[in-house]
Structure formats: C-alpha cells, structure tokens
C-alpha cells in the first residue's frame, strides 16, 4: 500500500464520522428488547391439573382453530391412556399428558407454549419474527421468519416445532394463544371448550391471586407453588398441581429471564459501537506506527 499519511488520516476521520452516525442510530435498535415494557393487563391462563379429566377436547379445539386436521373429538380421551409423554408439535400445538405415567389415572397436564414474559425466542429471533404482544401472547410472523430455528435452540421449554418435511414455506409451529380469536374478544379455543373449567383465562395479575387463593383454601390438595409465577422471569401460563411439576413435567429453571446473560453479552460487545470503533482505532494506530517505523528504517 502506498497511500500517504494525509490520506490515511483523512479516511480515518471519515470512518470516525460514520461510526458516530451509527452510534446515534443504535439506541433505536436496542429498544426492541425482549425486556421491554410489559402491559399490566396482559392475559394468562391458570391450569389446574387437579381438575383436568384428560378428555383432550382442548387438543381438538386447538387443531380446529388452527386449521390442522382434528379428526374425531371422541378419539382424544384414549390418547391419554397409553401413558406416552407427547410433546407439542407441528401437528398438535397443545397436548395433554398424564403427569405420572406409572400411575393409572394420575393427574393430567396440558402442555403448550408458556408465553414467557421475557421470551428467549423473541430475544433470539434473528429477524424479529417472534413478538411478545401487549395482551401477553408470543406470536410468530410467517412473512418475516427465515426458518433458522434459533428460537427452538433458545426456548427453555422446548416448545417451537418446525415443519421439516416441507420444501417451501415450512412453518415454526407453536401455540399463539389464539391471538386472532382473543383480538375479536373470544376466548382461546382450549379455554372455551374445557368442560371442567381446568383452564381459567384472565389477566395474569388476577390469576396469580386466584391461584394463591386456591392453595390457601385447600393446602392439602395443592403443592404450595404456582409454576410460572417466577420461572424464567414469569410466564403467562400458570400451573397448579398436587405435587411439584419441576422435573416431572417441566425442566428445573431459575427465576432469571430466559434470554439469560446473552443479551448483556451482546450489548456489552456492542455498547454504542464503542468496542468495535475502539478496536478499529487501535488497529489503525498499530498499522500507522509500524508503517512509520518501516519508513524510517529506510525502505
């Protein structure tokens, strides 16, 4: 390279200006945080596993609402008796399992996306296709998603599924809290059809109070813990059960938001573009100095 020192400085100044501009722009980007403002009125569902009879009607209603071939509603109750532990998938956004498959007719638990208050999937999504809506729902946008499946890596509950066998427009499939229905003022399909009232839909704040009221009223019936109140920073779906659901139904998770330290690391590395720009300046300095030395060396 044969540029002289003045050129070098000139271009360097130009880079500085660009960097400054970038810095001015960056706070706008940083605002799209998964730890953004949460609406106080956001909704949730309280699942009372002691009430659930395992009829599977919620599975049927969910499929119907999401245009998945549901089959015969009468067939669902038998799915539970074989003791298999099913997972939500692209063919069933929610499933009901027996909690303890070794005990015939043990309590049942409905599984679906937990709609975390600080979702790891929202934080992870490379293009922001997954959003935490004001009403609490975590929704996925088919027009934005690129199918990288990083949300599946991130989710602590192992919920998002992917249509691996579709060559075109494979979807990330997960419960969307019936976002379209709730926007129209309807209940989520599962909560609407539940014949025994095992699913209570309401604001999350009220549901936490209700859950604690039930525990207080019936301390011998319930394990003294509302699963989802604090797990991974809180989830919209809350669970009551006779025994602890941790490690039988749900993995052992802390109370820190699911994105964990990843956002802090990411923002630390890019704090207002200072570290990259500083590194650039440092390297530029080294380059200039070593060049000067070389010139003085008589080359």
């Amino acid at each position: 390279m044969s540029q002289n020192r003045r050129d070098f400085l000139k271009t360097f100044a130009a880079i500085g200006t660009t960097a400054a501009t970038l810095t001015a722009v960056s706070p706008k980007v940083a605002k799209a945080s998964s730890r953004g403002e949460l609406s106080v009125d956001r909704n949730g569902v309280l699942v009372d596993t002691t009430t659930c009879i395992g009829c599977g009607k919620c599975e049927w209603a969910c499929k119907t609402a999401h245009h998945i071939e549901p089959g015969n509603i009468e067939d669902y109750s038998t799915k539970l008796t074989d003791g298999s532990q099913r997972r939500p998938s692209e063919d069933a956004l929610t499933v009901v399992n027996q909690i303890d498959k070794s005990v015939m007719n043990s309590d049942k638990v409905k599984l679906q996306c937990m709609h975390c208050d600080h979702p790891a999937c929202v934080s992870a999504c490379i293009v922001g296709a997954i959003k935490k809506q004001e009403n609490g729902a975590v929704t996925w946008d088919t027009d934005v998603c690129i199918g990288c499946r990083y949300c599946m890596i991130a989710c602590p509950f192992q919920i998002p599924a992917f249509e691996y066998h579709k060559a075109l427009d494979p979807k990330i499939a997960k419960c969307d809290f019936c976002y379209d229905r709730t926007q129209e003022g309807k209940l989520p399909a599962c909560a609407e059809i539940c014949p025994v009232g095992a699913l209570t839909y309401g604001t999350r704040e009220e549901l936490v109070i209700e859950a604690k009221r039930r525990i207080e009223k019936n301390p011998e019936k319930y394990h003294d813990h509302v699963f989802g109140e604090h797990e991974v920073g809180g989830t919209s779906w809350l669970y009551l059960a006779e025994n602890s659901l941790v490690e039988t139904v749900f993995p052992k998770l802390g109370t820190n938001p699911a994105p964990g330290v990843s956002e802090s690391i990411q923002h630390g590395l890019f704090a207002y573009f200072v570290p990259p720009v500083a590194l650039y300046a440092l390297l530029g300095g080294v380059m200039w100095l070593s060049k000067t030395k070389e010139n003085e060396g008589g080359h």
Partner: protein, 414 residues
C-alpha cells in the same frame, strides 16, 4: 522492495486422480443437497424438533468460520503489523478465507428452512440476537474479503486483457478501468484490512454467544458466559495452523518446495496463542468448578477430553518444540491437531453439549448431512485449486528472466 518470492499462477495441470476423487465427493454432496431443496430439510437430515441444529451449523458454519480465521490473523500480522516476511502467505490465506466464508454462507443458506428469505436480516433487525450480529458481520466481512481479493484480479489482468471476438475493441477500455480500480483500491485498502480484522473479532466472538441463550440445555462443561472469549481465542489460535497446513498441502500437491523458513517462524506464534486459549478455558472451568463433571465417564466427557488433550494440549506441546517447528512433518501434524481441536470444539459446543430437556433419542448426522458437509469441503478445495491456476496467489521463487521481463513490461505501460 525485491523479494526472493513472487506470487505466480500455478501452471501444473488441473486434473489428477485426487481431483477426480474430490469431484466425486462434491457431486455426491450436491445430489443430497438437491433433495433438500425438493423435499425439505427433513428428507436429508436427522434434524427434528428436539435437535434443530446439526452438523450443517456446527461444522459448516461454526467450524467453517473458525477455520477461515487464517485470513484475518495473517492480515493483522502482515498488513497491520507490517511483518513483510509473511507476505508470501497472505494471499493463500486470503483466498482460503474468501472461499471459506463463501461456503459458510452456503452452509447457512442450505440450512435455512426459508432460504429465499436469507436477505431478511439486512432489513429486519433484532439487535438482541447474537445470530443477527453473526449474520450481519459475516455478510459484511464476505464483501470485505472480496474487495481485499480485487487487487489480485487487477494484477492478473492489467496489461493482459484479452477479450474474445467482437469484444476485442473494449480491451483498452477494460484495461484502463482496471488501472483506475487498482489505484483506488491501493489508496483505500487499509480501511478494508482493518475493517476485516475488526469484523472478524466481532463475529468470531458472537458465534460463541449463540449457545449462551440455550442456558441449561448446554452441558456445563461448555456453557459459560465467557464462550465469546473462548471462541475468539480459539479462532485466533487456529488461524496460523490453518495457513501452515494449507501451505504445506499446496506445496506437496504442486510439487513445490515448502516454505519451511516462513512457516517455521510463523509457527512460533501458535504455542503462545494456544496457551492463552487453554489458560482461559481451564481458568473458566476452575472458576465455575465444572471439573466435577469430569469424574463421570460418558460420551460427553470423553469428547471433552479429546477436544482438550488431543486438540489443544498435545499440539501446544508440539509447537513449543523447536525440532517440530523446523520439520515439515512436525508442523503438518501439529497444525492438523489444532485444526482437529477447533473443529471438535465447535462440534461439541453445538451438538455434544446440546441436551434438550425432553430428548428421547440422541442426534447423529445422517448420510445426507455428512455428504453435503464433506461435499462442500471437496468443492472448496477444487475451487481453490482452480483459483491458484487463474490468479497469482502462491509465491514461487524468482528464477528466470521471463518472469522479470513480464513485470518490466507491465511497469512500462503505466
């Protein structure tokens, strides 16, 4: 400044039995790849809802990015620190980085469920996502690498533009444009060189941040908040071994004398760099007290031990020995071990360590996945071989007047 070496086009014939073998491997991979586009990712891979990422991400992307680190490490050494001695290895390293990153992009492309939306991150941003950072940085860095390669293209064609048939009349015009481009690049190249190093440091580390968000799904032997640092340090320490390995391989393949002199002095940097990486890794283990997991004996801990002992400690010891550094075989074996160690580390980070809470089976790559991965490697080598024949990449000793005369004419036209 007159060097005893000058980058020249390689004149050896392209096809050899090994080239045919590589071509067969590449074609096999491309056939499986075609299936993926017609029948979906699930038809070729063993990926499922439990294991969303396989070797296309772990090896093609994770290890691919690390192994292309020869580009920015040699650029830092040769261009930024102005160690002219290493000029001869910069071009081959640049070519490998350029091809390496192109294939990283291809790896991402084929792994994306909706590959036709690969441009989305350019306009749809999520600043919280480590993957977004990796994606954007890699895209910019690939462009920077192509720009860094342009001077080699202008050097190849200035004074030698020879368009076929009717286009002959544009020869002078194209030549003039190339000269303009060369002058412009010459003045601004330092911007791109520094940018290349900065971008590399950024995305090499962000690649480590990727699995941090998976939290408890990642085995504690690998899950640590300093993953970005470990990824960066290991990438820096594998840069020179990659260059050494390639240089020796290319020399053997083209029947040239290995540049033992340059490679030996380059290899002096490897042990300290590996040492820093090892210290960070072991230090982190002791701070988080994860060594307790090593009392267990299972596939995970065995793979961890292999990664650390065979991939870091043994080559570190080898690179400390002067006898090894001065022997071509020693350099080759030690470099291969470092490369193996980093590939192993990326594989472990993305696959071995990944334990979803409801896993019912283990992930093992399918024939299709393996075919595509090694097919890409074969294709990359084939393109490398083609490029060193077309462009002056590999430095040859200046022997005869013919070579000198060509450059004299070129200078005269200026």
């Amino acid at each position: 400044m007159e060097h005893a070496f000058k980058p020249e086009q390689i004149t050896k014939k392209y096809f050899t039995p090994w080239v045919i073998v590589l071509a067969a491997i590449a074609i096999n991979g491309l056939v499986f790849l075609a299936m993926r586009f017609f029948f979906g990712i699930g038809s070729v891979t063993n990926l499922n809802n439990q294991f969303p990422w396989g070797i296309w991400i772990a090896i093609d992307v994770g290890a691919g990015v690390a192994l292309a680190a020869g580009g920015f490490t040699t650029a830092a050494l040769g261009h930024i620190m102005h160690r002219d001695k290493y000029e001869a290895i910069i071009r081959p390293a640049l070519l490998t980085a350029m091809l390496g990153y192109t294939f990283v992009a291809m790896g991402v492309f084929v792994d994306l469920g909706r590959w036709y939306y690969i441009w989305h991150p350019l306009v749809m941003w999520n600043g919280n996502s480590a993957l977004f950072e990796v994606g954007i940085c890699v895209m910019i860095y690939v462009s920077v690498l192509y720009i860094e390669f342009l001077p080699i293209v202008t050097e190849r064609f200035i004074g030698r533009v020879n368009l076929p048939g009717l286009f002959k009349r544009f020869n002078l015009l194209v030549d003039g444009l190339l000269r303009k481009l060369e002058r412009g690049l010459d003045k601004t190249m330092f911007i791109f060189i520094i940018a290349g190093v900065v971008l590399s440091c950024l995305h090499q580390s962000s690649l480590g941040t990727l699995m941090v968000i998976a939290g408890p799904k990642i085995h504690p032997l690998w899950q640590t908040p300093v993953l970005p640092l470990l990824f960066l340090l290991s990438a820096i320490s594998v840069g020179f071994p990659m260059v050494i390995m390639e240089s020796i391989t290319a020399s053997k393949s083209f029947g040239l004398k290995p540049e033992t002199d340059v490679l030996s002095s380059l290899s002096k940097f490897v042990a300290p760099l590996l040492g820093i990486y090892l210290a960070a890794k072991i230090g982190d283990m002791f701070i988080r007290e994860t060594f307790v997991y090593l009392y267990e004996f299972n596939t995970t801990t065995v793979l961890f031990a292999i990664e650390l002992v065979v991939g870091v400690i043994i080559p570190l010891r080898m690179f400390l020995s002067e006898a090894v550094r001065n022997s071509v075989t020693g350099l080759y074996v030690a470099s291969m071990l470092v490369i193996f160690g980093v590939v192993m580390n990326r594989f472990n980070n993305f696959i071995t360590a990944y334990n979803p809470p409801y896993a019912t089976e283990a992930y093992f790559p399918s024939i299709g996945e393996i075919s595509v991965t090694i097919g890409f490697v074969a294709l990359e080598i084939l393109i490398y071989r083609l490029f060193v024949k077309i462009f002056p990449i590999i430095s040859l000793p200046i022997r005869n007047f013919g070579t000198k005369a060509k450059y004299a004419i070129r200078g005269g036209l200026k």
